[in-house]
């Protein structure tokens, strides 16, 4: 089942009372190198190792009900991502965090959590932007120049067709000042979510292509998602504040 179906399942299965916890999690190291489906699977199995009363979908092939805020690409670490987990009885978020941290693999852990009141929209639909930290030698001046440009064209390949796309409008803000590591790191806010989404690797390819940033350094650039936000820019709120 794909994420969309799960989400639908979560909102339509009203006959089944569900108690949803929104859990903030982080990953690094080896766990950064798995794709979205593997991450979902890893979470599912970890929760199954706990004794938490996980809710399953009904029907032929019952699955736990997990909804992730925004897929993470292979190679990207995160400090602040979200998953909604449905339980069949109320469970205090602290207990979820404690139990899950006992059973998740070493490089994946939960940070905190809240109970999601009934009728709250899906966490996936809420996401409008995401912040990323890019760490690579001397990357700051190159990124500064990229941000000054009116447009940033990148080549996108979809369904065998190559297109030139301008990603400049998808870059919302430079957050480097809040999260500075000298010349070797930048932090940016990108549009994110199911409608418009800027992937960090596309941004990096634009910086190497138009501003001659070293390709090797870009390939080695460590990308960390530092936060997810909701609301229309500039009136956006960190999901952890909700």
């Amino acid at each position: 089942m794909n994420a969309k179906d799960r989400e639908r399942e979560m909102t339509t299965q009203q006959h089944q009372t569900q108690y949803i916890c929104r859990i903030r999690f982080a990953r690094k190291g080896s766990l950064s190198y798995i794709g979205h489906l593997d991450l979902m699977r890893t979470f599912e199995r970890a929760i199954r190792r706990t004794e938490l009363p996980l809710l399953h979908t009904q029907g032929y092939n019952p699955r736990p009900v997990l909804v992730f805020a925004l897929p993470l690409g292979v190679g990207i670490s995160t400090e602040s991502d979200y998953v909604d987990i449905a339980f069949s009885v109320p469970v205090p978020p602290e207990q979820v965090i404690r139990e899950m941290n006992r059973f998740l693999p070493p490089d994946l852990w939960t940070v905190d959590g809240v109970v999601v009141p009934e009728g709250t929209g899906s966490v996936m639909a809420a996401v409008t932007s995401a912040s990323y930290r890019f760490e690579a030698p001397q990357i700051l001046p190159y990124v500064k120049r990229a941000l000054e440009a009116d447009s940033l064209l990148v080549t996108k390949i979809s369904k065998g067709e190559t297109r030139e796309v301008d990603i400049r409008p998808l870059i919302l803000m430079d957050l480097t000042a809040d999260d500075a590591k000298g010349e070797d790191a930048v932090c940016l806010l990108f549009r994110a979510g199911s409608r418009e989404n800027l992937r960090p690797d596309l941004f990096l390819s634009a910086v190497t292509r138009h501003f001659a940033y070293d390709e090797d350094a870009a390939a080695n650039c460590r990308v960390t998602r530092t936060g997810l936000f909701t609301g229309v820019f500039p009136n956006y709120t960190d999901l952890k504040e909700i």
Binding site: L31, D38, R49
Partner: protein, 639 residues
Amino acid sequence: MSLQHSYHPVTLQHRDLMAVQNPARYTGGEWGAIIKSEVLSELIATGRTDTVRFAFCFPDIYEIGMSNLALRILYHVLNSSPDVWCERAFSPWKDMDAILREKKIPLFALESGSPLCEFDIVGFTLQYELCYTNVLQMLELGGIPLRSADRTETDPIVVAGGPVVYNSEPVAPFFDLIMIGEGEEMILELTDLAKKKKLSAKTDHPMTREEFLLQAASIPGVYVPSFYDVSYRADGTVQSVLPNRAGIPSVIQKRIILDLDAVSYPTETIVTNTRIVHDRAYLELFRGCIRGCRFCQAGFLYRPVREKSAETLLEQGIALEQSTGCDELGMLSLSTSDFTDLSPLTDGLIEAFDGHHTSLSLPSLRVDSFSLDLMEKVSSTRKSGLTFAPEAGTQRLRDVINKGISEEDILSSLDLAFQGGWSSVKLYFMLGLPSETEEDVIGISDLVRKIEQLYFDVARRLGTRLRKLEITVSTSMYIPKPFTPFQWEPQDSLEAFQRKQSLLREKLRSRNIKYIWHDLDTSCWEVVMSRGDRRLADVLEKGYRKGYIFDSWDDCFSYSGWVSLLEEAGLSMDFYSRRREEDEIFPWDHIDCGVKKEFLLREKKRAEQGIVTPPCRESCSACGADCFGGGVCYERERS
């Protein structure tokens, strides 16, 4: 061994991980992976440890290796010992292979990141013959000389085990020693000896490799290839295999575990972060097989049958499901239906997993009303395909191969299944079985057509509209293997196989039938490797130098390349695929799997006359495997 070694862990760069398929193959960090932190701190602080460091190597990619039960069992057994830290290493896929070579990064184990050359023992499990060049790849990338003869006191001891080592001659020169049979006890006897060697390095009399191997050779089941000389006759067949040192056994008998309830089994095991080929937890029901199908090597190698008790299995199954979080538990054995207490076991598991949404997978289940009922109960995805393995198309040929399944059996169980709503059937056959004629090949399509007809007959009888029928027919090429009654038989030629395949393709044309066949080239090469001798080691090394790795992957395999290398070495495909004389000495005759050559010859003659041999539980055919003093051979006495 590793007194001189220090600790130089490999850390791959981000860009290298991002440049390859599925980087999680190389990062480790799984739930259940064992990091012995005291040993690791010792290594970091001093570059050495008294703990025996064992690198368990699987010569194929991570997703295949992690699906292997032997790896999981021995990883657990080794790490249960306070004197050993066992880690894992896998073949890097071609993309990572290129990066490691280009950047001169050694192949490393996932837990500590140590290059293979820093280990005391580097152990390979050899599950199929076509992995041999990957062993060479792993050794070379790991910084270890390929041949036992070239290794020095500072190199690791390189060992092997697994199903194909019953004839390990083609790779014998690459290994310092080979463990024949089930490893749980033997491997700890070996690490005990390695511990002694390691400690002796601090004394005035350090144990040399030669001394180590001499002592290892007295561990039952251990075969040290360099202690045996092979001589050949003018026609290329083996004249003799003889020990070249005093006190070395002339025949090496396999080791087995008699009491499977008492032996340690991993109820906590690694849960991978990325999807693997067999992505579930496994219970091992029993070892061996009572049936004696004459084509099946496993059926003879693993005799006698030894079962686990339903209580042990229930306990282990419940623990595994809990500790791994897997939503599927697989039952493993050569023939699930032959497990004595299948019904209490599955009932117990179903009850224990109530509300967990955990399914059981029961492969190689004979189809009857009991199993149909069971399948309905245990499977989360309803009415998945049914599987039959008639192996041959006619009753005559099924009698020759001693496959105790009749057309009537198949049709009556399918009648039942079709009534129950099943509509998807998979059928497995082999082409090229001894004595096969065109009639037998046509027999396959006749049987398949009868099944197709049956489906519509059932529909008419019940007056229901049925779902679309899907029959999948799969044929593989029969490979006559050592330690079977057919070890004397020739392998069909490539041309004969092709002819039979196209005949079937023609006959099986129907919208309800899908015909799939296996790659023929690799099967032809497999017969060379499985019945081969030590002279093939040079051929393998040359092939590896030409870049031949991942031979088991059809698109990596170069048939013509291997054939020409074989010819360059003065050998031929025909020599290895030919019919063998009854008195011929085989390259593997110094290995004893319990089942005796005289029995196999008796079975060969019965096959020629089309006489079937009953399963062990019906009557004992005195195959020789009772020499181990346990298992099914003594069941009657006990009861």
